[in-house]
């Protein structure tokens, strides 16, 4: 075997690319991905059902999509996917005791973290987009010739993509230093994120879902005496929402890289 004279280390870009390729490939093979892909078929099933039950009421279909299916995507599907894949970036290596296969290669720890983050966000995005695509076009199959339909689809996909980037970054960061990151993530994703939306004023801006909902097309809100009990979105501007989500993703990815690079991980033997 001769290898003398080869490059002493892999550049950060190449590290990210190779780690991405390996884990995107590996991620597709896992049972977790198969289960979550099936979960993604729930809105598709709902879309089929709604189309059958609401045949002839085409005008209501857009409302059903944005009020039910998008709520599923924004408040459940991308959160649960980001939680399980984001926290697993480090946790699966520790639990499976495979971390040494990565850290004994000429790869920077930053490259490993970024590569896995990129692989898992891409994998989530593929799953979410497939589900969104099917459910959206089933619901709107009567308007396939309208150009606006495709623009709206891209907008929905873009919003979900931003949500995936931000949530996965946050959960990946939690996973770098918390032993029970999933538990803390569950409390954040399905506790804090839901509860805080019912707070009036600027408090709801301390949730990621606020910015995601700010980017979605809005239906007229319900009025009446009980309106005070209902969730009222006080949206941020689209520019603020996009910048906030991008900043959250960037900050938590940077923090995750820093913790992963400096922390010593001990295996539980």
């Amino acid at each position: 075997m001769e290898t003398k004279g080869r490059t002493p280390a892999v550049s950060l870009g190449a590290s990210v690319r190779e780690v991405f390729s390996f884990f995107f490939f590996l991620g597709r093979r896992t049972g977790k991905t198969r289960v979550f892909f099936l979960v993604g078929m729930i809105p598709v099933g709902i879309a089929v059902l709604v189309r059958i039950l609401m045949a002839g009421r085409a005008d209501d279909l857009a409302a059903v999509f944005s009020e039910i299916l998008m709520v599923f995507f924004v408040t459940f599907y991308i959160v649960i996917l980001s939680l399980f894949y984001g926290t697993s970036i480090v946790a699966e290596e520790l639990e499976g005791r495979t971390l040494s296969y990565l850290t004994s290669r000429p790869l920077s720890k930053t490259g490993i973290f970024l590569g896995k983050y990129a692989a898992y966000t891409s994998l989530i995005f593929v799953m979410v987009t497939a589900s969104l695509f099917l459910s959206y076009f089933i619901m709107n199959s009567h308007r396939l010739r309208e150009a606006a339909l495709y623009g709206a689809f891209l907008r929905y996909a873009g919003v979900l993509g931003l949500g995936i980037l931000a949530y996965t970054a946050f959960f990946a960061f939690l996973g770098t230093f918390l032993k029970r990151a999933i538990l803390v993530g569950l409390m954040f994703g399905f506790g804090w994120e839901n509860v805080i939306q019912y707070f009036p004023g600027s408090t709801q801006k301390f949730s990621l879902v606020h910015y995601l909902k700010s980017l979605l097309p809005r239906q007229p809100s319900a009025g009446g005496k009980l309106a005070i009990l209902l969730f009222r979105l006080e949206p941020s501007s689209p520019a603020t929402a996009i910048i906030s989500l991008v900043v959250v993703a960037a900050v938590f990815v940077a923090l995750g890289c820093w913790v992963f690079r400096t922390k010593e991980y001990l295996f539980e033997e």
């Binding site: 075997m1 490059t7 892999v10 490939f25 005791r97 495979t98 971390l99």
Partner: protein, 308 residues
């Protein structure tokens, strides 16, 4: 000669538990065996010198460069970790080519190297099977393959022989010895004395996180020989066996078990004892169910050495 691996006052503890204490070593090219009973600190040492863990005190260098967080070093280092852990959903081929790509090899180079490494460990025929379906021995071999596939100058092998059948063990021992003839540096750990003895005569003995001795393996053998051996046997005629050895000067002590069938003999001449035992058994027609030599385990040797 300049040491390839050097540790200075290396110490590591886990909370209140001491993993490694004040270890200063110089390891030169060739094969060095790290020998110690389970829990002696071998894996802690291996993890420290491969940068998997950070020392609390002291430093580790490979070819003069500090190991912790210097990932560039690993283009020249191969590490075979001790745990039986893998990415289970990939095939042996995908496992190797995937890891080889981390060195910056092109797809074709990675494929070529994976093919050669799998051939060396005799897994070519099973390369397309998922790792999760491999036997323990196959998993051990593919783990070894990933450590050698990129052709490293320095190889750190943590318990590489565990889980291998005798034939597989012999083949791997030959491979490791071949690396020495190519001028590489190999550090191999084991808790089994004959395994280390089969690959090298240069050893480091570790016990309770401290280096007990460093040098030639024959020194250990001599130390063992200077201490009495314990031999236990089970026989329905244990007392008849004992009676035959009462006048044997090489036997120092005999103890009967409470069941009346077991006997523990202490002798300072094991070979003479076994030779006489064979004669006694044949001559008197004594049935012996089991013979064991507890001294053969490394823990007993180390207990002798540390004066327990």
């Amino acid at each position: 000669m300049t040491p390839v691996i050097e540790t200075k006052n290396l110490s590591k503890w886990y909370g209140n538990v001491l993993g490694l204490s004040d270890v200063s070593l110089e390891i030169e090219s060739g094969i060095t065996g790290l020998l110690g009973p389970n829990g002696a600190g071998k894996s802690t040492f291996m993890k420290l010198i491969t940068g998997q863990m950070k020392p609390n005190i002291g430093a580790v260098t490979i070819r003069g460069k500090r190991v912790w967080n210097d990932y560039r070093l690993f283009s020249r280092v191969g590490f075979c970790p001790e745990p039986d852990a893998f990415y289970e959903d990939v095939t042996g081929w995908e496992f190797l080519t995937g890891l080889l790509r981390f060195y910056g090899f092109t797809r074709a180079e990675a494929a070529d190297r994976a093919t050669r490494a799998l051939a060396i460990v005799e897994l070519s025929a099973d390369k397309d099977r998922k790792v999760r379906s491999y036997s323990r021995g196959m998993r051990q071999r593919v783990k070894f393959a990933q450590a050698i596939a990129h052709d490293p100058d320095v190889m750190i092998l943590d318990e590489p022989f565990s889980g291998l059948d005798p034939l597989g063990k012999r083949r791997l021992i030959k491979l490791v010895k071949d690396f020495e003839s190519e001028g590489r540096t190999v550090l191999v750990s084991s808790h089994v004395l004959p395994e280390i003895e089969a690959v090298t005569s240069r050893i480091i003995m570790i016990h309770q996180g401290k280096i007990l001795a460093q040098g030639d393996i024959h020194m250990v053998r001599d130390l063992i020989e200077s201490h009495p051996h314990m031999i236990s046997l089970r026989s329905p005629a244990a007392r008849a066996v004992a009676a035959a050895f009462v006048d044997d000067a090489s036997v120092l002590k005999m103890t009967f078990g409470t069941d009346g069938r077991s006997l523990v003999v202490e002798t300072h001449n094991r070979d003479a004892f076994f030779s006489r035992l064979q004669a006694v058994v044949v001559e008197k027609g004594i049935e012996v169910d089991e013979i064991d030599s507890p001294d053969d385990n490394l823990q007993a040797v180390f207990d002798y050495l540390v004066g327990k």
